[in-house]
Symmetry: C2
């Protein structure tokens, strides 16, 4: 087993994850914090990164490859976008060097869909796609990447042809926290009420136009028939995910399995939702995918 | 012209409106404030009402009829619900007397749809329906009542057969204020960008499942192509209203004109939206409707 040869960083809006990697892809050390772009923009990106490198005792000459919001306009250094149709290898070629640093630091670009009728952007997910699908030209995939801003992506022969972002996760937070439904979900436990969730997914999938009514029923149901805060929360979640699936699945050209790139609770929920709709799926862990994508970038840039 | 003979109050969640009325339906005085149920529940309903009666110098023996959230469980006195199918005259019979008051004060009940598959409630809108449609048994109407919680109601022969609540207005506030789109709409002026609104209505009406994507495009569009905060705000508004219309209009049994009960900005927006979709409509002013409904209740209760 070889020693550490580079550092991989997934720098999101609200999270920071760092891995100390060997050329062979082994993980030698790991750091995670909530110093995402928003926090780091205040305190300084270089300082945040260096503090984590110091904690792991990383050698001063080890290079760093970064993906995510650190490359946004409001981030560390703007890394721009590769335009669709975007071959995943173009991401590697578009890496931007952070000037004036003691070590070699590169930030990967995002992908932009400059279609006036369906404009869209991603930043970070392209690296997950690279890690999950590789550059295999034979690979065809319809990918679902749940999150605050879920992405549905069509990849053909290593090229991102088209994608759409759904602000499902953010809608869930806003609805559960900032509307009358906040009373309905108050005190909900972390455990998932699978029955309420699956029923809501099926109903919203079948009648997505009714979403704002399905949401209000969460309150009416509690008022007229009672019901737990947990069921209320999962009904909101299932409704919003069901609507997303109605759109995402309708965009597929053929009935190939959906590639679900997700971790933790979101992976469980989307898997449950897709299974409820009898949609075949392949599951890829999102964290493993981004790490593998960053490893692919390091190999391409430094021949590591 | 006869003198004042009763007081009519529309007491909502966040607003209070009072009219001093003659038996013939003339308005002798008017008060409005933001002392809705939420505020009055803290300071006391009786005191709020009396302070407005004092301002208008209302005689101590004049009766008061109230509709809206003052009759909710968290309100002044719970006025319960009439269940669907609910004849509008049943609302008049269900008025609840507020005990221990120096004058005769009655609160009208709401309407509940105790259908486990589609539970729903209204409180205040039933009085608008009464005022807009009357008790005419020949009247058939498909009614749209926009608001924080929009209602779509099917009325046949004076009976509320079925209705559905869409939390469109509250979703608009939550999305524009508490999500990433708050940056996109920052500084938007009050004037309406009709083109952006109409385009968003049509797009969301045609593809309601894509709502969470259509919303995110507001951000992507600004990022990639620029665009005003005003256009962004109207696109959010048009998207959410377009989704509501896709559901509300689909529920209609026949292509009769939609009865739109609304005032002010919401009346303008929904009228623009329905016209964009070539839906014939009859417009009734919401404030006039509720006042007429309260007048009908006063006539039935006190023969006024």
């Amino acid at each position: 087993m070889s020693g550490p040869s580079y550092v991989a960083v997934d720098w999101g809006t609200s999270s920071f994850r760092l891995w100390l990697m060997s050329a062979g892809g082994q993980v030698h050390g790991e750091r995670r914090s909530d110093q995402g772009m928003t926090a780091a923009a205040r305190t300084g990106f270089a300082g945040v990164l260096q503090s984590h490198l110091d904690e792991l005792g990383v050698a001063a000459d080890l290079p760093v490859v970064i993906c995510g919001m650190a490359g946004a306009r409001q981030g560390w250094v703007e890394a721009g976008y590769v335009d669709t149709p975007a071959h995943l290898s173009d991401i590697l070629k578009g890496a931007v060097v952070v000037a004036g640093q003691p070590r070699d630091i590169r930030i990967l670009p995002g992908i932009a869909q400059r279609d006036a009728a369906a404009p869209d952007v991603m930043r970070g997910e392209e690296t997950q796609l690279l890690g999950a699908l590789g550059l295999d030209p034979a690979h065809e995939a319809d990918v679902c990447m749940p999150g605050t801003h879920s992405k549905w992506v069509r990849v053909r022969g290593g090229t991102v042809e088209r994608f759409a972002t759904f602000m499902t996760g953010e809608l869930f937070s806003a609805v559960a926290r900032d509307t009358i439904l906040s009373h309905a979900v108050a005190g909900a436990e972390e455990a998932v009420d699978g029955d309420a969730f699956r029923a809501a997914v099926a109903e919203a999938y079948a009648a997505p136009a009714h979403s704002a009514n399905l949401l209000f029923r969460v309150r009416s149901r509690q008022l007229l028939f009672g019901g737990s805060a947990q069921a209320a929360r999962e009904t909101i979640s299932g409704t919003l995910i069901g609507v997303e699936l109605a759109a995402g699945l309708a965009e597929r050209e053929r009935a190939v399995p959906v590639t679900l790139i997700a971790s933790g609770r979101l992976q469980r929920l989307y898997q449950m939702a897709l299974e409820r709709l009898s949609i075949p799926l392949d599951v890829v862990d999102a964290e493993e995918a981004v790490r593998r994508g960053l490893a692919g970038a390091a190999a391409a840039i430094w021949n590591n």
